[in-house]
Amino acid sequence: MSEVGTEVKILVIDEQEVSAHAGQTILEVARENDIHIPTLCYLEGLSNVGACRLCLVEIKGSSKLTPACVTTVQEGMEVSTNSERLTRHRRTILELLFAERNHICSVCVANGHCELQSLGQELGLTHVRLPYRNPDLPVDASHERFTADHNRCILCTRCVRVCAEIEGAHVWDVMGRGVNCTIITDLHEEWGKSTCTRCGKCVQVCPTGALFDKSKIGSEHPKYPDFLPFLNMMREAQ
């Protein structure tokens, strides 16, 4: 969440004039005005890492693309959230994600509730041109309530952030580098033997079927990450 000031800024998003408070991000203002910008690593209530690059937008006067989730609004800014160029890049990024690990929608518990899958449909992705990488990845079912299937992880680090920032346990983190990055619990130990508090927040914020509840079967696993702003609000109130 960004620190919101009282000063009011006027800017243009997709040819629509909108007002915003100083300190708000482009993404926040766009959402307030029902302008849709695709995101994956962003989640309201968590810190922003700007890692998935799907929320890149064009700003008039700059040839560079700008991540909407971490860019604060400026007076008179002219933002374009949709263009042929943006769609092309967003599709390629989704292709990269689909090809990176083993995403088999038909057998996934999140089928129909998956943010990666929905974005693929939303952006008109009907196939992946890139060669699939087919990495050999483990499934950690050691936890009594949850499973981590690394084949479906997109390394958005929402689980890492929710565990560190909201639950305060910091059980999850990322190990390795580049394509070999993996989310881990503690010293790369089994989830079931880790210092996990069993709160389940990581499962709720996971955008795909990488972290899931063992009690869910078939493709009956909707996720409910909307508790985060509420938690933050209640904490501030105390």
Partner: protein, 546 residues
Amino acid sequence: MTIEELDQIAASARSEREKFEHEINVCHGTGCLSQHSDRVKESIAQALQALGKNAYVRRTGCMGLCAAGPLVLVDPEGSLYQHVNPSHAEKIAASLDDKPVEELQCNLREHFDQQVHIVLENSGRIDPERVEDYIASDGYRALLMALNDMTPQGVVRQITESGLRGRGGGGYPTGLKWGTVAKAKGDVKYVICNGDEGDPGAFMDRSVLESDPHRVLEGMAIAAYAVGASKGYIYVRAEYPLAVSRLTSCLRDARRHGLLGNNIGNTHFNFDVEIRLGAGAFVCGEETALIASIEGRRGTPRPRPPYPASSGLWGKPTLINNVETFANIAPIIRKGSRWFAGIGSARSKGTKVFALTGKITNTGLVEVPMGIKLREIIEVIGGGVPGGHKFKAVQTGGPSGGCLPESMLDIGVSYDALQSVGSIMGSGGMIVMDDTSCMVNVARFFMEFCMTESCGKCVPCRAGTAQMHTLLTRICTGAGTMDDLALIEDLCSTVKETSLCGLGQTAPNPVLSTLKYFRNEYIEHIVEKRCRAGVCNMEAAAEVLA
């Protein structure tokens, strides 16, 4: 320490020297040390003693012409000896007061004549670990001048007017950066020296840190005074143990002489420096990743803004410059911004140090004025391609740079010119390739580097570099198609435009530049299944398809 005291140290160091009729400088740079120049020094010292010669033997930093090492320079005669081994010691000792040793003489006038040494002015001339040597070469004078006679704003102005641009690769105007940090609000500020020279094929920073470490510390201290910082970090690769040990000893000496620490130069200015070791991550050359690493975290970059100048190390305003940039500071303060701006080209001032390597006769370190033609560096200073082979390309800027063909050799070396032809200045690696190099394979080599060095945070760089590497490997093994080539070009565009940091944004450059200048080699691999350099094994396709 006052200027007078500094003068005294310099004077006594000089009079100490004058007791000797000769000085024999033995290069102790990494290249020469790997050929046991330390033993050469010992043997010469013994030989001198045996012959009763009145000469001072000094270990120095890098003399530059590594190809001819171990190097020995005899002053005041100015005789430079090459390929010296301990058995030559007696001859060299005996030659003093007589004719130089003919068979050892290195007569590469054209190699040295075209160079202008600012950053390397002391390299190979002083003992890097003797602060007295540095002081005798006007060392720390600039710092005391700045502290006593200039305001911080004045220092910033002088650096701005000199036209100095960051030598780490980006070429951001140094004075502008300093001004931003100086103006940033905050009572605690930091100065960081980026010595994480991860660019393969580059060793300028290593050489400067090993040959003249005090110069870098002085530059940092001046910067700290200018921006209002009292604490500095120097981030050095753990792979450079010699640089680390020399820096450690120099830090101790500088503190002992009151040139670091509290009340430097009897003023109210306090500044001290700590060394932080890198741990093998190219991405830590990116400033926000470097900061994360100093903070003890994974070296992953974060989106900018906020820039380190306003929110850097531990959220405080932080100035980050590269080793070579800091090494330029003291001479600019001493000799003035006009002098510096008089060297170089219109928008790139001063000199640039290049690590000249690959298929070139005179491998080593060279410092040339900006604007010099690539051809001059390669053919005159570098002595051209050896072994009767034909020049094919020169690579500048490392994994972020590009490969330039023969037809581009007449451009002048400057930030803008190199960028306009699809490469970059980079930190100063300059690798020459001849007809035995396959340009597709070279592109694949760099992509492999970027893939393994990608931090993994943002999707396009993490997965995009891996995909490009797969596709390039297909082409290098005879399994590539024209569709693959189109995909590579598509990925180049996305990775370049959407990656979070400089590593990803520039990772496609070696592919784009080889596609621009050597596209026919790609086509040959795909259509004719032929590698003209004979590097690629075109029958390996089956393995890769798996």
